[in-house]
Symmetry: C2
Subunit: 311 residues, 2 copies
Amino acid sequence: MSDKPSILIVGAGAIGSFYGAILKKAGCKVSTVLRSEYDAVKANGIRISSPLGDLSYRPDHVYRDGDRPEETPDYLILCVKVLPGVDRAALVRPWMGANTRLVLIENGLDIERELADAYPDSPIISCLAFIAASRTEPGVVEHKAYGKLVMGRYPEGIDENCRELSQLFTDGGINIDLTEQVVGERWRKCLWNTPFNPLSVIANGADTRTILDTEGGEQLIRNMIREVMTVAEAEGYPMDDSVIEQNIEGTRKMPPYKNSMALDYLNGRPIERDAVLGNVVAIAERHGIPVPHLNTVLVTLRMRANLENRD
Amino acid sequence: MSDKPSILIVGAGAIGSFYGAILKKAGCKVSTVLRSEYDAVKANGIRISSPLGDLSYRPDHVYRDGDRPEETPDYLILCVKVLPGVDRAALVRPWMGANTRLVLIENGLDIERELADAYPDSPIISCLAFIAASRTEPGVVEHKAYGKLVMGRYPEGIDENCRELSQLFTDGGINIDLTEQVVGERWRKCLWNTPFNPLSVIANGADTRTILDTEGGEQLIRNMIREVMTVAEAEGYPMDDSVIEQNIEGTRKMPPYKNSMALDYLNGRPIERDAVLGNVVAIAERHGIPVPHLNTVLVTLRMRANLENRD
């Protein structure tokens, strides 16, 4: 037996599979809990092509959602999408031991709270992934680029768990930025995601170039970023005005890019609307801050979901 | 020969065909200029079923777009959609005589200006149609309900031409409201159309019930109506706050309704985006009035059009 901590990945899509591979490479015992991919992974393991080399691995245990664990993990890494119909606290319950640390590698804002409320005694490590990866077929992942994690204890600080886990990821070959203010980092990431992702969905899959080059598009993005900034500031995370132009210029320098929320929408998969946009608007309302641009996009997305009977 | 005035309908879709039928019934000579429907109408005339009875008729002349007129009409009634790619002033030019009065039965705001500029000596009669009618196949129209026209001289007043034409429509069996302020009436109609029509497109064809019952939907409609009202007031057409709830309550009393702009969009036809929404935002900008909700919807519609390479 290794003296390295044991890892359980809940929701091993592209993100979960990739970070599991990194920890496997670092010498950890890595198991997965799967639903639709169970048969494929049970038979063939997880196949990952990557600029870092072949990261394919066989999880130590391949559990099916509903199984009981043979042992509870030291770190439970939750990588499912944050959707209104998914009770993440219930999803992890069977796998949580007395000493299990909960790790979130998920998008959006204010997504830790329901888990912190459900597991007040478990330390929560909150992570933001900066990665381009996609699942091409069951159990098969293509890692295209990047991979950095921004990591911190929720709601703030850096503890020994963060340090241990970040060292393991570093040993596995990826970069980690430890942060004392992970919630602030979530706001910072939302400056981009909250305008661009939902707009791309509303525009039926417009890429970044189309969004910025449409008459009035760049200004709309600017207005939406400013609304996010105003809410972030009210929450205690002020940012300098210069980040607006930085986000726009940075986006203009990238090749035209269709974000994952747009791809989810176009492929009929649910989108993380509330994690990325709805929660920002809800927090704005608590502060009495008007966010008319964000709100218009949110409500039109809700109308569409109601029309399509999906959420 | 009748001593009744001669009529030419340019753009004989559902609306043009119906109002042509009414004037035919009133004893006028009614001709049409057609494009895609030419062969069907030349062969079979225009077939119209209606609660008013069978309104089918053969136009006195069936012209094809590009023909030369045998005589210029007393009234040229323009019923084409108001679209960025359609030069309406050029479209009517071959048919305009020295004494031809120009009649617009078209939706939207600030749609008279380009014709008034092109034909400064021709009186313009501006009309708003309140009607449910649709073209079911080439040359065939189903008139379902209503039919009232609100009519006035552009930019304001009621002249002898308005009186003559309104009498003919009345003789043909429909109701006419003559108004001294037809532009104000356009603003009044836009209170409904400017929020509901584009939102329905953005939401991929949501009906009025879906729009109002979505969480935040009714408030979004309220905010958009208020923005239109603020611009209307700056243009000299103040309205009482009570019209907001009147529009919402009136809509709730109707059966769920999918508006014509949504149907156009869903059927791949161009939408009157600028006539109904873009012009309102442009006028707001001239006055320096912020209209963030309207602007967000406008820009997202433009993004979609850019993505689809259509406008």
